[in-house]
Amino acid sequence: MSLTLEDPRVIEFDVRTDEMLVNMGPQHPSTHGVLRLLLRTDGEIIHEITPHIGYLHRCAEKIGENLSPPQWVPYTDRMDYLAAMNMNLGMALAVEKLIGMDVPEKAMTVRVLVAELGRIASHLVGMGAYGLDLGTFSPFLYAFREREIILDLFEELCGARLTYSYFTIGGATHDLPEIIPIPPGLAALTKRNKNMKLTWLEAVEMFLNWLEPRIKEYHTLLTRNQIFIKRTAGLGILTKELAISHGCTGPVLRGSGVDWDLRRDGEPIYTRNYAGYDFDVISAPFEDAPREAVLGDNWCRFFVRMMEVVQAIKLVRQAMAKYPKSQGTHRVPYKMSTKLPVDEAYLETECPRGAMGFYIVGNDKAEPYRARAKSSCFCNLSVTAPLCEGFLLADIPAIVGSLDVVMGEIDR
């Protein structure tokens, strides 16, 4: 009996393929933490993909119901641990919205300065880790070299390198430090004496001056690299409608062509921090995109992040200029026993990975009646299934990596 190609047992010429269930993760290096993807594959083609989450669930919301807001701040650090500063800020602002607290100008300036530095650090990891997903190692090392200096600066600021708990209700725990020893990485890169002492702001200035010309190098290494373009452009196309329906936020949404940034379009209690700053909201399409790039593909999402680093540098510089002139203190005291009013407040802030929302319900007690953290990565990850279906197995890390998810935030 001769077989024809229409016969269901034959897929391609005489090679027969069976459907297979493949578990990718939870310990697969390209899944950014403990994400498990269950794939139904036909050879190399993905027919169905089901993300399984919850491996890092630490009951943050339940714990929040038993703690006063300043005590809950360290738990928000551990949500998006790559951008802990921005998590602290979102939570602090939500509580301030609930109790109707105003923070002084100086605290706002410090918040913008440090939160934008945090955004740079987070996007650097996003960039490096994405390169790693696609099989290139050197951008990762360069990104971590830069991030290391930001971590050193944060260490001088609050003593911690990853889980800062720096912003708290009413401002920031400390003012910016005066004189600090130069971070060793910065001394080595800028060829300064490693025993040099300088002010914290001078160190930030020195770092930004060093970082700014490097962004062009990252573009050469990744963004404009033909291999990188082949792996990212035209793949994982997220349409505007799908992005909005799936509640995508941040660079994922802007990569699909929605011009929406909470720093500009958010609620007044958040946007007033950024009042008077000059920055652009980066959203696709881009004029200088490679020919192969399509609106909403991996490349666009990646490029949004890269351009946001430039904007963040701009914002930090403006905040540094503003800081010496800022009035007031870095912190309004907040008593741990302050009773939260019988009301509720929901506030979203623009974190590096998207809009992180905190929903605090008060009930005349110091502890919130309900503390909810709405994760941006949770929503961004939910588009994995429609994005990956029909693509090749090797494209899964490229697509999931371009969403830049952090599991700590998804599972809370």
Partner: protein, 177 residues
């Protein structure tokens, strides 16, 4: 559009029997909708050109209950479960909070969780948010395509964010409390 205008619009559209309450002085003004009308109201809010709420920011649940009988008399809420929808319109740039209030249990004796119709057909992200709300708060979203636990393991018992929830004594040989 302000919350008052939106409330007027919804009341003329659906009648007072479906739009059951509102609070315009809260930090986030909210409108309460009857559970059986939530899908129609959600569809209207998303597609009507005066509202255009195309973005579901968040969907979550709150359990109002005081488990301690001594403190229950002083508790300032009637026991109930709320499902809270936070909506934003990208085009018209306005926000609103919609609430659905249901009893804590559909059946008090068998501890059957209450039912709220699913809005997955309107906003795709509601799929995951409703799974999480079912998992942690314990609300049964009817017509949901895949209502399974999302953060807790599938064989977990109870809904941890219920105020009368007790941590299990042990789970697969691991001590709970």
């Amino acid at each position: 559009m302000t919350a008052e205008d939106l409330h007027k619009l919804l009341t003329t559209q659906f009648g007072e029997s479906k739009i059951t309450g509102s609070n315009f002085t809260a930090k986030d003004p909210w409108i309460e909708v009857a559970a059986e009308a939530i899908v129609d109201v959600a569809r209207f809010l998303k597609h009507d050109e005066r509202t255009q709420f195309d973005h579901l920011n968040d969907l979550t649940g709150v359990d109002y209950f005081e488990p301690d009988t001594k403190k229950a008399a002083k508790f300032n809420h009637q026991p109930h479960v709320e499902v809270v929808y936070h909506l934003t319109s990208y085009t018209l740039r306005h926000r609103i909070t919609i609430k659905v209030k249901v009893p804590r249990w559909k059946d008090e004796t068998t501890k059957t969780i209450p039912e709220v119709p699913s809005v997955t057909s309107i906003w795709a992200i509601a799929d995951w948010h409703e799974r999480e709300c079912y998992d942690l708060v314990g609300v049964n979203f009817t017509d949901h395509p895949n209502l399974k636990r999302i953060l807790c393991p599938e064989d977990w018992e109870g809904h941890p964010l219920r105020k009368d929830y007790d941590m299990p004594l042990e789970y697969h040989g691991v001590r709970g409390r």
